[in-house]
């Protein structure tokens, strides 16, 4: 469905994107505010960023969050990819309905319920709460997002590639590692990135499942936000936004480049 945009289309786009981006833009601008009063502009300054680096609590929380995010995203990517393979390649097995239900439900499950239920599990089996339990919790809900991303790639996967590999003498194992995995790799990478940011952003589930000594960055930010808006928090948020935005944009640009190169190649192939 392509064509020219009507005035109504343009207005709805401008309004929609203004709504989506204005709050973030304002937050970023006011993180450079010299005044301690967050809503009164007192000139440009980077003092809040400087003061961040002497805030040991925040730095500790950031380091904890980062480690949890890397580990949980990695485990979630492995499990989520397996779940996606199970769902697309095995159309019939006992309990498939329950399985697909368990993969899709966490996508919409209110976080308070997931958090509470995991906490009660950890208490019931006597697991000390801390970084480890937060990581387990994050793996559980982010693996489902990975599964959905990888699954949609697998659904459009040309199965004759695998048949060709086997036909040429590759065992199922070799076929998986030399053909299937390389072809679906982009989806697995974006699944990892998604799992990473989900873990990075999570407040509710981490609050339930975390214990002493494992305060994550969102938990730290939340406890300060409850006391009111401060320029330091604006600065932390800006850094986080910048981190994620740079990551996502880099990935998008790399992808776009590859697509463009591909298109050019295809045109060249058609001509030559």
């Amino acid at each position: 469905m392509q064509g020219k945009l009507s005035r109504f289309n343009i207005v709805s786009l401008v309004f929609g994107f203004a709504f989506l981006y204005l709050p973030i833009v304002l937050l970023v601008i006011y993180s450079f505010n010299a005044s301690r009063l967050v809503t009164v502009w007192g000139g440009f300054s980077t003092r809040w960023y400087v003061s961040l680096f002497s805030n040991q609590q925040l730095i500790d929380a950031a380091w904890v969050t980062f480690r949890i995010a890397v580990i949980s995203a990695t485990v979630a990517t492995v499990l989520g990819t397996m779940a996606a393979l199970a769902l697309t390649r095995y159309t019939r097995f006992r309990g498939r309905f329950l399985f697909s239900g368990m993969v899709f439900a966490p996508l919409v499950m209110p976080e308070v319920i997931t958090g509470l239920s995991l906490l009660l599990l950890f208490v019931a089996i006597g697991l000390d709460r801390g970084m480890f339990t937060v990581t387990l919790a994050h793996v559980t809900f982010s693996m489902c997002f990975v599964a959905v991303v990888v699954q949609s790639r697998l659904l459009s996967f040309d199965r004759s590639l695998e048949e060709a590999a086997m036909d040429l003498g590759a065992t199922p194992t070799r076929t998986f590692f030399h053909v299937t995995l390389p072809v679906i790799m982009p989806a697995i990478v974006s699944g990892w990135m998604l799992a990473f940011t989900l873990s990075l952003d999570d407040l509710v589930i981490a609050s339930f499942t975390s214990g002493p000594g494992a305060t994550t960055l969102p938990m730290r930010i939340y406890s300060q936000v409850r006391l009111g808006v401060t320029p330091e928090i604006n600065a932390v948020c800006t850094l986080l936004i910048a981190f994620v935005t740079v990551g996502v944009l880099t990935a998008a640009i790399v992808n776009k480049r590859r697509d463009l190169q591909r298109q050019r190649d295809e045109h060249a192939a058609l001509r030559g």
């Binding site: 048949e163 086997m166 040429l168 590759a170 070799r174 390389p182 072809v183 591909r262 190649d265 295809e266």
Partner: protein, 380 residues
Amino acid sequence: MKSFGSIRRNFAPWKDPAAKPYIEFRNVTKIFGDFTAVDNLSLNIYEREFFALLGASGCGKSTLLRMLAGFEEPTSGAILLDGQDLRGIPPYRRPVNMMFQSYALFPHMTVEANIAFGLKQDGMPKPDIEARVKEMLKLVRLEQFAKRKPHQLSGGQRQRVALARSVAKRPKVLLLDEPLGALDKKLREATQFELMDLQQDLGLTFVVVTHDQEEAMTMADRIAIMDKGQVMQVATPAEVYEAPSSRFVADFVGNVNMLEGEVASRDENRVVITGASGAQITVEHSGDVQPGTHVAFAIRPEKIKVSSKQPVGTGANAMQGEVWDLAYLGDMTVYHIKLDDGQVVKASSLNSARIHDDPLTWSDRAWISFTPDAGVVLTR
């Protein structure tokens, strides 16, 4: 390029009762759920044969090919290759390679790596692999494209990579699933002949699946016409066209007129058939057919002569009608003649002369005529 004319000319192992079949399908049945894809099918294919499985989609031809490759196991029956039962042997252990309809080129590998893939699986020494890949690239004239990825190639080049990859291992049998389906018409025609030369050159057995009868007729030594999981006829292209064994085959391959009727009388090698309107034709038939049997006389349009005057003498069958429709195609003209009994008969005549004095045109009265041996009598 060598000439293989003399080989092809004398190649007919199916006529030799002593010849051992290379591939044998013995009472093979394949059932998917409640759908019978292949139904108690038996078929022999000989070494070095170029064999085509021809049929509409869903007739079971691809399932047959996939069972040979090992992607499906027969529900019952046996498939033998060179005397060896293939049951239970996974695809990666079968000395059979396949060229896929979609080509299935590995998108993350170069042309070279694609061709080397199968050789690597066999643990062939590296220098040998390099030599073989080079040889294959030369065979399909893609030497300068070795380092390219599949998406950097045109459709015809991709097709050649797929071909090179599937013959690189020197399989006992090469299976081709609609090998030319994705190419445009001109390229397809040129490639048909290349494939035939390649087959002779390598001395391999080819089994090709196609729905394109022209393709099958051009390339194959023998064709199996399939319908509903069964083989309707196995014969050379000329036999399939000129001596179809059933109404289905006659109708499936090329254009045909079916003159239906009952056998009125017969002698040694001729029968007289009475049509619905009472008109009688006398045609050659050596088979056993009792008077009163309902039969069809199948005759190709180009075997029917159209004229404005009644043909004289010759003992040919002649009927009168009216030019209902005609199409001038340049090399020939196709007539639809509505006979007086209401049946419409297609006839085509070659335009061997540039100028006709008195061409037939719409609504003209016309005669059609054909000799007794111009068609075949079909009981099935």
